[in-house]
Symmetry: C2
Subunit: 260 residues, 2 copies
């Protein structure tokens, strides 16, 4: 194949639910959907015009690409049940390419760097796809597929992809938790969270600049211990958040001294 025209899925969770219709929308045929839960598998198959298959061992090997979009723990076992010589990828940030073992001579990774949740549609048009493959030819195929879905493709090896996945935990999962902490405190006092939206969006937009630490504001980077003590006092009912406040503040002060 010169480009990927047909795909099949193993898995019908959040990633597959986003990827399969997007691929279909780009004219790529979704042929088979294999899933442990028959109900969810049949739903996705029906939605994309595919055939439901109950077991990877029963999948026909005629798709240009098989996408395994399941939890990290399940990739090795499910891929080992495949009978194919075609290209097989997983969609995980944390799992290495090697987790696919010898399920096929042609393996790869197609990792969409975004946070997918049930019941929320996210446009794939701006999502970076991190790709990896055993061969240069398959890299080209996956890069082309990523480019058709979005404007952003990065070729990363498994170690680099793990680092990207780790930094996404800081930049997305932990920031979500910071927002959630702020919401909890404001809700307790009947203050609308919407007051924080402009500063949240401004701060997120600022991250596009180089040397993000130079944009650091707030009491810690000013070493304003009076304000920090007042904040600690306000957090006396929130023990977890006070520990987080202390540790991040201390780390900002360390970083400032290193940063010079």
């Amino acid at each position: 194949v010169a480009i990927i025209k047909t795909v099949s899925f193993i898995g019908a969770g959040n990633v597959a639910l986003h990827l399969a219709p997007a691929l279909k929308g780009k004219g790529i045929r979704v042929q088979q959907v294999c899933n442990r839960s028959e109900k969810k598998g049949r739903q996705l198959a029906q939605k994309t015009g595919a055939v439901f298959v109950p077991d990877p061992a029963l999948m026909k090997p005629d798709s240009d690409l098989i996408i395994i979009a399941v939890s990290d723990d399940a990739i090795a076992e499910l891929s080992s049940r495949l009978r194919t010589t075609g290209l097989v990828v997983h969609t995980s940030g944390a799992a290495g390419l090697n987790v696919l073992g010898k399920c096929s001579p042609r393996t790869g990774v197609f990792y969409p760097l975004q946070t997918f949740r049930k019941g929320r549609r996210i446009s794939l048009s701006k999502i970076p796809f991190c790709i990896e493959a055993d061969s240069r030819a398959d890299e080209v195929l996956l890069a082309d597929l990523g480019m058709r879905l979005s404007g952003m493709v990065a070729r990363l090896d498994s170690e680099q992809r793990r680092l990207v996945h780790l930094t996404a935990v800081f930049a997305a999962n932990f920031t979500n938790y910071m927002y959630s902490a702020a919401e909890e405190i404001l809700d307790d006092h009947g203050i609308p969270f919407s007051l924080l939206m402009p500063i949240i969006l401004q701060t997120a937009g600022n991250a596009k600049h180089k040397d993000i630490f130079s944009l650091q504001t707030g009491p810690a980077v000013r070493e304003d211990h009076g304000v920090m003590e007042m904040h600690r006092d306000l957090l006396k009912e929130h023990k977890d958040l006070r520990k987080i406040y202390d540790l991040i503040s201390k780390s900002i002060i360390h970083q400032k001294r290193k940063h010079g």
Copy 2:
């Protein structure tokens, strides 16, 4: 006065540098700028068509409003030097209304909830102004002034304003530090930070939903200890970040159990 038509400033730092031209742009006359550093004070005065005054004790009491935009520590001393019976406000999130003491029978707070930095212009048009005043009449004046500058004004007492200031540390200062941590790790390995911008912007935009914790994704909320151990291993050269990783992950797991 029915509305505020003239203002004077004490301070010529980031907040004054943003507020004074914005007020002028709305047709409000900036009359006097008082600042410890004569050079910076004269620069702001010149830019806004105001007169420079070296000492608050020498300011003419004929402005509808005097805005004290200085560091928290300096508010009490500078305001005590004023000779006025007009409305005097400070712009601090952390300082109470009472820090203005008895500098005038009419005191208040006009706190713009945004992160201002030197050399970067930020449009005030979407910034919430948190206002407080001794009297209902002065609250109305400050609310009107805030409405003329932006679409968002909130009346908060000093305790509520302190809580908003605290939560802005979590939602903005600490998230900036999370972005900076991610940048440091990616830079070390030559991976472009731009890969993270879509997930950063998506996560920030998600904060407008209620119950932000229900949007939490990532290994901690899944209690995926395998991935967390891998991440800890990747952080072995980053001791501060590993402590932050452990503490926030633990707190997310606690919160999940509380959240149910």
